[in-house]
């Protein structure tokens, strides 16, 4: 597996030993990468694979990442002023970058391994897939329509409506004299009466005028008005009858 890559024995012009050590030396800058023939490392690895007689994909993957990182480092070392961006990276930074990328890639690989496991665990599980059969939106049903009907409706609307009647707003007061006469004649027949009883069935305006007539009569001292309590029936009596009553009340 991965161990095979690190312990890959190399016999190059510039270096002899395990791949692992080469990596360390390069990162420590004890071995100039320019002098290392990377193609030879690739050949050595391929030969190593051939010797083992089986294709170890994990090892291949790690080898590819390592060798491409080395290639990048070497390219930067060989063309230091090629591009400012490339030159920015010091070998030390490059080493850190290499470590960071290896770490990141290794994580992705392990996450992929986890996903592979999930897939394996669910290999025997079948389920229905597909877009959800969502309920269709209810269509608004309209009765069959015709252009003539629309025209007719518009025609009705185009006629100017009659001016609203304000007749009901004008208050027509019956003359007060009408009620003055009525109350006087009533009191000629009876000594007292109940106001509410007498105006029953009259309109509000008529009731108001009838009450005004009462006040008028009171002013002329023809009647006396009494009410036991607010909203209690209003009692009307002849002025003379009231006077004797109040006198009795005072004498008591």
């Amino acid at each position: 597996m991965a161990v095979a890559v690190r312990e890959l024995e190399l016999d190059l012009d510039a270096f002899e030993g395990p791949f692992d050590l080469l990596l360390s030396l390069v990162l420590r800058e004890e071995l100039p990468l320019q002098e290392v023939d990377l193609a030879e490392i690739v050949i050595a690895f391929v030969e190593h694979l051939a010797d083992r007689g089986e294709l170890d994909l994990d090892a291949c993957g790690e080898f590819l990442v390592l060798i491409s990182a080395l290639l990048e480092l070497k390219a930067r070392a060989m063309f230091p002023d090629e591009e400012a961006e490339l030159a920015e990276l010091e070998p030390e930074e490059a080493a850190e970058e290499l470590a960071r990328r290896l770490a990141e890639y290794r994580r992705a690989k392990e996450a992929a391994q986890f996903l592979r496991g999930r897939l394996e665990a669910r290999r025997d599980l079948y389920f229905r897939l597909g877009p959800a059969p969502l309920a269709p939106r209810p269509e608004r049903k309209l009765a069959p329509q015709s252009a003539d009907k629309l025209a007719a409706a518009l025609r009705v609307l185009s006629i100017e409506p009659p001016a609203p009647s304000t007749a009901h707003m004008a208050l027509r007061f019956p003359p007060t004299s009408q009620f003055l006469e009525r109350w006087r004649s009533l009191l000629r027949r009876r000594s007292r009466f109940d106001f509410d009883q007498e105006v029953k069935g009259l309109s509000r305006v008529e009731v108001a005028v009838a009450f005004l007539a009462l006040l008028e009569l009171r002013k002329q001292n023809e009647i006396a008005i009494a009410q036991a309590a607010p909203f209690a029936p209003i009692r009307i009596s002849r002025a003379d009858a009231e006077r004797s009553l109040s006198w009795t009340a005072h004498s008591a």
Binding site: L27, L57, L64, L98, A103, L115, L125
Partner: protein, 201 residues
């Protein structure tokens, strides 16, 4: 003689009644239904749906049923039992996950953990061009476009609910923690850092 005491009541409880509605919704659905959606469709409270689902989970489990209720991709769904897998395999294909390459799985893992992210970002991590792999995953419906870098930047990708369902994840949070991944990453990093520190000034 009739016993006055009846131990088995045939009277349906409200939860059992609701369970009927819930299982009906689930059998029509072709995607996992979130509890909220079930509650809205059944016009009941979410907590009641939870009780009904508990009843259904007891009934639809591997031991007793050919249909199994599972909590997956943020919702509830029916699937075939493992015991019926052989029969299923004779009649049905699994095109979505069939022949997913190692490159595809690595790309999926990267998108699942770090998404939404763009193809160049994925390529930077994997160290190779990922255009083909990303297109393939999008075609399978395992990833989808989810916004852009800046306003007019590269398209970003994220995993889909289908991804969660295929891999049997309740949600993306069911993935192992990043810290738990790459046990020997720390070892590599430590070695490289140690090497960098030892470098003569």
């Amino acid at each position: 003689m009739d016993s006055p005491l009846r131990l088995i009541t045939t009277e349906a409880t409200p939860a059992a009644e609701l369970a009927k509605v819930v299982e009906a919704l689930l059998v029509v659905a072709s995607q996992p239904l979130p509890v909220e959606e079930i509650a809205a469709a059944a016009e009941v409270d979410v907590t009641h749906v939870g009780e009904a689902l508990e009843l259904l989970a007891e009934r639809y489990c591997e031991e007793t049923s050919g249909i199994v209720l599972e909590h997956v991709a943020g919702g509830w769904a029916f699937r075939a039992s493992a015991a019926a897998s052989e029969a299923c395999s004779r009649l049905f294909e699994k095109p979505t996950e069939k022949g997913l390459s190692q490159a595809a799985l690595e790309t999926l893992a990267i998108v699942a953990y770090l998404g939404p992210l763009s193809r160049p970002e994925i390529a930077r991590i994997r160290g190779v061009n990922v255009d083909g792999v990303v297109a393939g995953l999008a075609e399978r419906g395992l990833i989808s476009e989810g916004g852009r870098e800046n306003e007019f930047g590269a398209i970003r990708y994220r995993t889909t609910p289908l991804f969660e369902r295929i891999f049997g994840l309740e949600s993306l949070s069911a993935l192992p923690r990043v810290d738990d991944l790459g046990a020997d990453v720390t070892e590599i990093r430590a070695r490289l850092e140690a090497v960098a520190e030892k470098r003569p000034a």
